[in-house]
Amino acid sequence: MTPAPSKQREMEQEAQSSQSSEAAAKAVLLEECEEQFGLLQKLQNEIILADTEANDDQSNEAVNRLIAVTSELEQWQEMEPKLLTTSPEVLLAVGKEELQRLNNQLKMVLSCSQAKLDAQKKILKREQTWQAEKKEALNAVCEKITRLQRENEKSEHSVLQDMKRKINNLKDYHGSLMEMLSDMLAEHFPLPDPHGNGTKKKRAAAYDAEINLISLSEIIERLTNKTLETPHDPYVTTDDTFWPPYTEMLLRNGIATRHPEDCNKIRLENFLDRKILNYNICIRSMLSSGLR
């Protein structure tokens, strides 16, 4: 039913708008219009009758739809395409208008699809750059993983090597410290000079004891060796080989202490980081008291 009014309206439009149509073509068109309109009225009357007859059953919409679609399908299958009218001017005008409309629509479709294509290309580019960045990140992370794995594998080996290195460093340091200590002691605390200044008495007294006098470094060496080798008995007996001022100096500065019961035994005082401090103190005191 609906194609008929559309054609009819179109024909009316064409009839109204075309200026150069001949009177005959116009008459033919008007006749066709009247025909179609009469058909329309008939159909409409039938519909109204059918409406008033059938009670308004609120049947299922889906069923309604199905019926409508199938009946429309049948109609379309039966209908054969036919020309509006055989008049060539009308056909020409209608054709021109149709083609122009189609042209416009196709232009719109073209621009729309091109815009879509451009947008998609932009998206593609963006996604590609994103992917490249992520790939770079992935590579960097993989490299780091392999590096860490390699480091983990040889860790035992390297720990050993680190330890060896540290031990060697310490030995060197220890050696240098000992050298310095012996140099310093030799310079500042030499053996008392038997030919030095002094009266006859002193000379005599010194001479007796000087035969086997040991230097301060020897004393300290003996003390440390005794402490390290026999920690349960770190006492060294002082005898005449120990020059008394040296022992007095060691005792006074807290580097050595006497045995609580035996006054002839001394031992090295047992604190680690105060040794250096005490060495400093005793050197200063020695220099200041002028025992040299």
Binding site: P3, R9, E10
Partner: protein, 183 residues
């Protein structure tokens, strides 16, 4: 109960009639003006209503209505409710391509999302299309008018390539996908 029936009257020559049903009456007039302005090839007759059923007095003088558009403002709950109650006054034949839903303010908050889902479910139940429009700017109203005119042309039979309203409604009907239903 008088129902609005689609085919009870003879169509007028070279005219299409559209009925805009809106509870708030704010978009109706703007849309009506835009519709009339935009269409040059045939006459567009716009009738406005707040809800169905239409008053009985005008029944004889009222022309055949080719398209019924329900304007739903998603910001108010009453809009949707009045549309639902108006739907009961439509003859079931109307849903074969002569009804369309137009929603506005679909992006303004969480309540609107829920209402949009319910409008879409309603439209899918009746198999009618749903248009979303932006009614605060002139451009939005014009765009909505152009889209409505396209649907109107088809349902009034003006489309020359023999597209019927039923066919168009099958193409453009709102479908509710399963993830929407899960929401």
């Amino acid at each position: 109960m008088a129902l609005l029936t689609p085919y009870s009257k003879v169509p007028e020559l070279n005219t299409a009639t559209v009925l805009l049903v809106e509870n708030e009456e704010e978009l109706q007039s703007k849309l009506a003006n835009a519709l009339v302005q935009y269409e040059k090839d045939f006459n567009v007759n716009v009738r406005l209503a707040r809800k169905l059923p239409l008053p009985v007095e005008n029944k004889e003088t009222r022309p055949r209505i080719d398209l019924i558009v329900f304007l739903v403002n998603l910001l108010s709950e009453r809009s949707l409710q009045s549309v639902e109650s108006s739907l009961a006054h439509l003859h079931s034949d109307c849903f074969l391509g002569k009804v369309c839903f137009l929603v506005t303010d679909a992006r303004c908050g969480s309540h609107t999302q829920e209402r949009l889902v319910s409008v879409r479910k309603l439209a899918a139940a009746h198999q009618c299309p749903v248009l979303c429009a932006e009614h605060r700017t002139v451009d939005g109203v014009n765009a909505a008018a152009v889209r409505l005119l396209n649907i109107l042309k088809v349902s009034a039979g003006m489309s020359p390539i023999a597209t019927t309203a039923l066919y168009l409604s099958s193409l453009t009907r709102c479908s509710v996908t399963s993830d929407l239903e899960e929401d």
